[in-house]
């Protein structure tokens, strides 16, 4: 029964990773840009959750969404837009720079606040850390929230992409931006829509992560984003669905391996200290066998940028 519980927890972790992957993948679709600063959007949203202290949960979640969307749009406006026609590597370096800037900005504020530890506690929806007991299973509510939020967010996004005009325009722009523009699709509008939605998803991920960790610090979102990027690349970044599946698989594997392995072991492969190495090794093998990604369709060509 213990294994079933581990499985459910792993699905929860996978769901959060999937959300992050979609946030990154949407922007990649329209900009051909891997945003390494995505984790810091999650961090910004988490700080927004910590900020008001005694606000009602709904209000602080609203603030977190607002903060992540605004931060995401500002990032696009001041960094991505001027670099839109630049080399992909220039854009990549720019997102690294933004990630460091935001992380260090978060660090710096502790100096001004003269606070001892590098962290703020978050009480939003903390009741969801309690577990429900079903037979011999003890599942925390936040796990259900993670799975539910993942399903609702991804389902909502799927509706936007397939049922609305802006969604159709975003899909067309991801496939062939130049032709989309020839049909009147406004480049700035679709990019801002993708960037804004990715901000919303960052906030949703921040809420779920903050409930579990009950705190935020300058590294919040960093580790998850790195793992997600690994999953996205392994899954195949050229399609949103495969990138999402890749990230889900990584989240699922990390959680499962993490709970099934002891924290310290006599031999390397029985300790989760080595888990990142094991994951990276698996990814290298995947990319050697299927360079386009685990879930990518065969014979798929990469698309040009704007």
């Amino acid at each position: 029964m213990n294994h079933v519980q581990a499985l459910i927890d792993a699905i929860g972790e996978g769901a959060v990773f999937a959300l992050i992957a979609v946030g990154i993948g949407l922007v990649f679709g329209v900009l051909r840009l891997i945003n390494f600063a995505y984790g810091q959007l999650i961090m910004v949203a988490a700080y927004a959750l910590a900020f008001p202290g005694n606000w009602p949960d709904a209000a602080s979640i609203g603030l977190a969404v607002l903060a992540a969307v605004v931060a995401s749009l500002v990032m696009e406006r001041i960094a991505f837009r001027p670099l839109r026609t630049a080399d992909p590597s220039t854009m990549l370096v720019a997102t690294f720079a933004i990630a460091y800037l935001l992380q260090n900005g978060a660090l710096l504020q502790y100096t001004y606040r003269q606070q001892g530890g590098l962290g703020d506690s978050i009480g939003t929806l903390s009741g969801l850390n309690q577990a429900v007991t079903i037979g011999s299973l003890h599942i925390r509510w936040v796990t259900f929230l993670a799975i539910g939020a993942g399903l609702v967010s991804l389902g909502g996004l799927a509706l936007i992409l397939t049922r609305t005009s802006i969604g159709l325009q975003m899909r067309a722009a991801s496939m062939d931006f130049r032709t989309a523009r020839l049909l009147g699709v406004k480049a700035d509008t679709v990019i801002m829509a993708a960037v804004a939605i990715s901000g919303v998803l960052a906030a949703v991920a921040a809420v779920v992560l903050s409930i579990s960790s009950t705190s935020v610090n300058p590294t919040t979102g960093f580790q998850e984003t790195i793992f997600v990027l690994v999953g996205v690349v392994a899954g195949g970044i050229d399609r949103l669905v495969s990138a999402t599946l890749g990230a889900f698989a990584i989240g699922f594997a990390i959680e499962l391996v993490g709970t099934e392995l002891p924290n310290s072991g006599a031999t390397p492969f029985t300790s989760n200290v080595y888990m990142p190495s094991v994951i990276y090794l698996a990814v290298i093998v995947v990319l050697l066998l299927r360079p386009a990604g685990l879930f990518a369709r065969r014979g798929q060509r990469t698309v040009e940028r704007v």
Binding site: S165, L168, Q169, R171, A172, M175, D176, R178, T179, A180, R181, L182, L183, G184, V185, K186, A187
Partner: protein, 239 residues
Amino acid sequence: MNAQPVLEVDDLWVHYGTVPAVRKLGLTVGGGEIVGLIGPNGAGKSTTLHAIVGLVPARSGDIRLRGASILGRKPETIARAGISLVPEGRRIFAQLTVEENLRLGLVARTGHNDADRDLGWIEELFPVVREFRARQAGTLSGGQQQQLAIARALVAGPDVLLLDEPSLGLAPTIVDVVFGALTDIRERGVTVLLVEQRAQRTVALADRTYVMTNGEIRMTLTPADADDTERIIAAYMAS
């Protein structure tokens, strides 16, 4: 020329790096006309169209739509202003359905009210787009994809339709369909600028055909020249 100019290009220069691909090009397309632009590979025909729709910047010169300069505007702005390009190689969205491709055509449309009426005649002109509405566009044949590409450009309700080698790689019967459609399209009030390699057919169809070689317009032909194969060949050779 029997009509107000809708599209005017004046002394246009376009460079790729330091190499000029279009040189001192001037052309005029009057309302309701079909104007041809022919020339050998690499003459600069596609570059001319790309400059008109804002895909490549002009080094100098001017491009006017209904008298107002559109030089330096974004492609999406120009599309919304009333110029639709059917690009070389069709460029339909293969993973989207035929219907979704057509819906994308509506994006550039400024007056949304009479879209249904326009869709009516466009589907009549190209029945395949109605028949295969729900199909993935990538599963259509080359000829069907070309018809979809033209239909998609038309649902935008453009004043000017630019076509870049629409008959390329098509079976003769489909070439007839495409050329036949251009006459109907003109009758609907859409002005046409047709880039083609099929010199003789283009000269016969168009009110005027410019012959372009090496980035420059060398000659203007009329339908009367259509049977004068030697003159067309001479125009091609004049480089």
